[in-house]
Symmetry: C2
Subunit: 169 residues, 2 copies
DNA sequence: ATTTTATGTCAGCGATGTTGACTTTCCAAG
DNA sequence: CTTGGAAAGTCAACATCGCTGACATAAAAT
């Protein structure tokens, strides 16, 4: 039996890798991720959209003008799967797909005003929860949180994640 | 609502709550969770099971003898949804559902030897990634990681999560 | 001129979530 | 003892969102 709750500071750098500690981390990821998606999910219900629509909207908002292929590889789904989602968003007037200037095969994706409104509604809810968690845990905990999450990612994805700098507004 | 511009700066304890910082945290959750589930998902493919089976197996292993109702509320799904998964696990001989001793309406769930084998295979893979991330980030980061995740959970779930003590083998 | 790339689309399948309705079993309270 | 309700199981229908495979079109690249 390992006592840990409040005592993971200091120098016990050998204790924290027990299977029980790892199990706690695994369950923390499960429960926290469910909470993390709960608020947007509630909003999306009213709009007849799902989590996949949210993800597409998020990344189009982050990088306006990105191509379908780029979005595809960021989301890690097939083009058929993304296309189903993207089509409804375009049809409903939330996303605009402009033919590429240089390469006319490409489609550059942008949020319309309507799309940007939904994006704000979704990310406001998600940020509110994240902000509350950050405040409750404090700056040092936040740094550790990000470090562990980054270390958990696959290397290619981590590079993609880090490529978009923090101030990239 | 909108950006907490740098006007609200005063010390570095306020800086970390900009919308950009929060967005990074949100994306870190998304990418890390995908990595987190990737290894078990690969294993499950070979067994014709899905992520839902993994979750059921995990929690039955953690609390042998727990009832269907308890598992239901831990997983946060409907009994119909869980039942479909549970039935295949029982039929395939991975899970045993014993009639409750005190209350015969209840079913106490246990992993069989075969079920325990799959559980080990799955959790070994997941723990390996978690262990690597913990090692890379260091003990202080791990503490912060857990703190933020716990703060993100809904209060009821957090209590449920914390109720199972670290040494609960 | 041919090949490759980017995108879109159709069809079908599988896992996993949902609601609603109904049954059986059995504990517990009137 | 009877009755109400809790625990569990089941059937049907549906939605989202992954997947594969096949095929079409346009445009860039060779």
């Amino acid at each position: 039996m390992v006592a840990q709750s409040k005592a993971t500071q200091g120098g016990e750098s050998l204790l924290f890798l027990t299977d029980e500690q790892l199990r706690k981390g695994i369950e923390a990821m499960f429960f926290a991720y469910r909470a993390f998606t709960a608020d947007p999910d509630r909003i999306l219900e009213n709009h007849e959209y799902g989590r996949a629509h949210h993800r597409a909207i998020h990344f189009i908002n982050r990088q306006p003008g990105l191509t379908v292929n780029a979005l595809l590889s960021t989301l890690g789904v097939t083009k058929q799967s993304l296309n189903r989602v993207l089509r409804t968003l375009v049809d409903d007037g939330l996303v605009e797909a402009r033919v590429g200037r240089r390469d006319k095969r490409e489609r550059n994706l942008f949020l319309t005003e309507k799309g940007a409104m939904l994006e704000r509604e979704l990310s406001d809810a998600q940020r509110a929860r994240m902000r509350a968690a950050y405040r409750a845990a404090g700056p040092a905990a936040v740094a550790g949180f990000r470090q562990v999450l980054e270390a958990m990612m696959d290397p290619d994805i981590r590079r993609q994640y880090q490529a978009i700098k923090d101030g990239a507004a």
